[in-house]
């Protein structure tokens, strides 16, 4: 008798407990990459530099002269992008780098970073 009641409990429970349909999160839209022209102008040379996006280095180098330029592919959503910029001047002293970002035929957007022997910051480009 007990076994029969127990056997009945399982199907009965399935009628009384609400079943939540699994919620499917919409797939996060990924921003397509686009060709971006980067230019760094430094007030002093030689200098070393690196530019990172989302924790990955997209451009780094050491240059005896200024400016330096490179084309990279980056996803740029309408909210803009953050680029982490590091620069070092072995000669020391106060110096600055200006990073210009140009997307397609758009006007370049530039940000400047000052430092004493070295500079490091996250620059936002809209």
């Amino acid at each position: 008798m007990v076994a029969v009641l127990l056997a009945l409990l399982v199907p009965l429970r399935s009628f009384t407990v609400a079943k939540n349909a699994p919620v499917v999160m919409p797939a996060a839209a990924t921003t397509a990459e686009s060709r971006v022209h980067l230019q760094i102008v430094s007030t002093a040379a030689p200098f070393t530099f690196s530019v990172s996006h989302l924790g990955k280095v997209v451009w780094q180098g050491e240059s005896p002269t200024s400016p330096v330029e490179k084309d990279v592919n980056l996803p740029i959503p309408k909210e803009g992008i953050d680029l982490a910029v590091d620069a070092k001047w072995p000669a020391g002293g106060t110096a600055a780098v200006k990073l210009s970002v140009t997307r397609g035929d758009e006007e370049p957007v530039a940000q400047t970073l000052w430092g004493d022997g070295a500079a490091s910051d996250v620059l936002t480009f809209h």
């Binding site: 499917v24 989302l54 996803p75 803009g80 953050d82």
Partner: protein, 292 residues
């Protein structure tokens, strides 16, 4: 040795290590302001914190015992921006000559719609969730301490400069960490609307379950609207707060498929975040890990 002891005492005085009776008594109604006052005041101040870690400042009401603590205070520090509704009454009943500084009132406000009346604009009181605002607060507290104890000006100036250097490093660290998230993924669902200053500084969009105060719960319609918004936006995580009930947040995750991203310190220091630096590092690490 006889000549050494007076020399040591003289050095102690010069460094501002006054005895308890000689210290400037400061009473604070904010965990963040308590830390700032201790950091800037150093050995020259005795800071009494009436709102302790983990206490919701929106709900806090001073007790008769708290009123007694105000006796002899030379400086009272409040967050301002109307978060301490009781303050004017409290100062009047406490009497005394203490200087009251509503620190938040001395910095620019973000304006928000009042929960009880959508036609009314109010000031967002959560200025401490912006490191640049805490830098402003440090300068305000430094200047207030110099006003009440001008003889310790050098101590306050030196200590404030050291604390400001730490805050600048913290701000830099936050910028580096947040830069790991694409700007179009910086969406925060929080228990109450306490992170607008953070959002402004670091490029986030906020969806809050409750308004700027924790005193009024969200209506069913507000929760349903938020669920729709979260589904449409594909927000990945909902964050809890250390001083609030997680019930509604948990329900929202069930309805939307978003995950619980962790618990944030929204209204000040708490258990497990005993300094402003620890509070911000915890919040930022939790947010970045959940949204990555």
């Amino acid at each position: 040795m006889k000549t050494f002891l007076p020399a040591l005492a003289a050095i102690g005085l010069a460094l501002g290590t006054a005895g308890a009776a000689d210290k400037v008594k400061v009473v604070s109604f904010s965990t963040i302001l308590t830390e700032i006052a201790e950091q800037v005041g150093g050995g020259a101040v005795n800071v009494i914190s009436l709102v302790g870690p983990g206490v919701d400042p929106h709900e806090y009401q001073p007790t008769p015992g708290d009123l007694k603590q105000l006796a002899g205070a030379r400086l009272i520090l409040a967050s301002g921006k109307h978060i301490e509704h009781y303050l004017d009454k409290l100062q009047a009943s406490a009497g005394g000559d203490a200087v009251l500084v509503k620190v938040g009132d001395l910095m620019p406000s973000l304006k928000m719609t009042a929960e009880e009346n959508s036609n009314t604009v109010v000031e967002d009181p959560h200025w401490w969730n912006s490191v640049p605002n805490v830098e402003r607060a440090t300068k305000i507290v430094r200047d207030a301490l110099i006003t009440v104890a001008p003889s310790d000006k050098d101590v306050f100036t030196t200590n404030a400069a050291a604390y400001l250097t730490k805050l600048a490093a913290l701000n830099q660290w936050i910028k580096q960490e947040v830069a790991l998230l694409p700007r179009d993924k910086r969406e925060l669902v929080t228990s109450h609307d306490a992170f607008q200053y953070f959002a402004r500084d670091y490029g986030f969009k906020i969806y809050a379950i409750e308004g700027i105060s924790t005193e009024q719960e969200a209506s069913t319609k507000q929760v349903n609207d938020l669920i729709d918004t979260i589904k449409k936006a594909g927000v990945k995580a909902v964050f809890l707060e250390d001083t609030l009930n997680p019930k509604v947040s948990t329900e929202i995750t069930r309805e939307t498929g978003a995950k619980i991203g962790g618990t944030l310190y929204a209204d000040g220091l708490g258990v497990g975040a005993d300094s402003y630096d620890a509070m911000q590092r915890h919040n930022v690490t939790t947010i970045v890990e959940a949204l990555k």
